[in-house]
Symmetry: C2
Subunit: 272 residues, 2 copies
């Protein structure tokens, strides 16, 4: 029960509304991962940048919607994502943050009010955890939904992003082992949710996308690909953090991987 | 045959590739509307702004995807939409342009190279003409597909856009009369194409969205709503031009309504 207040379990947070989950987090009562939080609500990766980088980063998201589908960009200096989570505060409502300076992760925090600036813009991008409820309803046996300590495995692939301004780098992918007889169904299902990375980028051969050793994860935890299973790789929102490292951007504040922001958007709402 | 070179008919342009259509336009051989051009390819509304307005306009598009689904934003100063139409030149490849200054339409042109600046950003947003091929294949009898001089009727509605920075104003809608027994099918079909405005904003009662007189169009041409038909209203990309007028922006260069830019994107390609 990573980072949980001893009065709260992950099961407690499954059934809460998104606003209730955010309040629990704002109150400092949950600093763990957001797996299964407010099931059925869109979870988001967070990237906070100074406005001078905002137009290029927005073009970068627009050109790379598989890893970085843009759910919202806040008004400059305003920490409220008023479209997707009215009333929320992006500086306090994420379970944990990671601060990058000059392309290096320098600090993990649970509150960033002291770092917020009048020229900051917060970007919310899609996250695969959003479709967990869909996977549960469709009875897809994803390991991270079945076993508490398990987590999707995340790797830096050799698939390049489409650059925009200074933003350039490799796509990060998340791997889930899928039973072969469910593979088409999983591709069909995830393809319906382009906001949450859509269908996989690649299926089958890790080496084909530059991953030599599935045990050597960059984020998350290794997952065993068992007999009769195939590794499937989806684009991942941590791509923004890999890019921050690649280009050595002076400052980028993000969520800590796995510790997402929960929006009010229903995952089943159409993209529009 | 509005604006056609006498050696070319609209039927000639239906079967051309998007790149071929753009070359015909660049050569000055077609200055008419883009109806049925390169059928099956995504057509785009164009908005060109100085970079100082680009971040706010991009947030405006992101918050209003029904009228302004963002297909691409070019690099600042670069007139090539390299994601959706590599090799194209946004300054010459649109059949006709409209220039707004201080919120007023001041000039229509067929080439804007002399107006292009190093700090210009071009935005391409979705257009309903893109789904004409879908409608033809599905045998939906849309008047503008059946009769050459007919055009969808366009109105300023009382539905407000979500504001972003200085950008604020009403949504423009386009009306098509739909046979009642095909209405659900048309809604289902258009809902599959969120890049091209998706499903309608409203069906049935023009007055409910602020339209008192269907004969009084702002753009396009009046369409008769016959017996057994219902007026259906889709969000329209001309919204950007209505907003330019509303806020009196110093400069906005757009396509002339109905005279769209044809991208290489297949309309049936998934949004991703």
């Amino acid at each position: 029960m990573d980072g949980a207040d001893n009065t709260l379990s992950r099961a407690d947070l499954e059934g809460l509304s998104a606003a209730e989950v955010r309040q629990v987090i704002r109150d400092g009562r949950w600093t763990g991962t957001s797996k299964r939080h407010a099931l059925g609500r869109e979870q988001a990766n967070i990237v906070i940048l100074r406005e001078e980088y905002a137009l290029d980063f927005m073009r970068f998201c627009q050109r790379n919607p598989k890893p970085l589908f843009l759910i919202e960009a806040t008004d400059t200096g305003n920490p409220e994502p008023k479209m997707s989570a009215p009333g929320a505060d992006i500086r306090t409502d994420v379970p944990a943050y990671r601060v990058y300076r000059d392309g290096k992760a320098v600090e993990d925090l649970t509150d960033i009010r002291h770092l917020w600036r009048d020229d900051h813009v917060a970007f919310l991008t899609g996250c695969n955890l959003s479709v967990d409820q869909v996977m549960i309803e469709a009875e897809i046996p994803l390991p991270h939904l079945i076993s508490e300590p398990v987590w999707p495995s995340q790797y830096v692939s050799n698939i390049a992003c489409q650059p925009a301004g200074i933003f350039n780098g490799p796509q990060v992918v998340s791997m889930r082992p899928i039973p072969k007889d469910l593979l088409v169904k999983v591709i069909e299902l995830t393809s319906r949710f382009p906001r949450s990375h859509g269908g996989p980028l690649h299926v089958g051969d890790p080496a084909a996308i530059g991953i030599d050793d599935l045990d050597n994860v960059t984020w998350g935890k290794p997952n065993l690909v068992g007999r009769g299973q195939v590794p499937a790789f989806w684009a991942c929102g941590i791509t923004a953090q890999a890019v921050a490292c690649e280009i050595g951007i002076p400052e980028m504040i993000t969520h800590k991987p796995g510790h997402m922001f929960v929006t009010d958007l229903a995952v089943v709402d159409p993209v529009r």
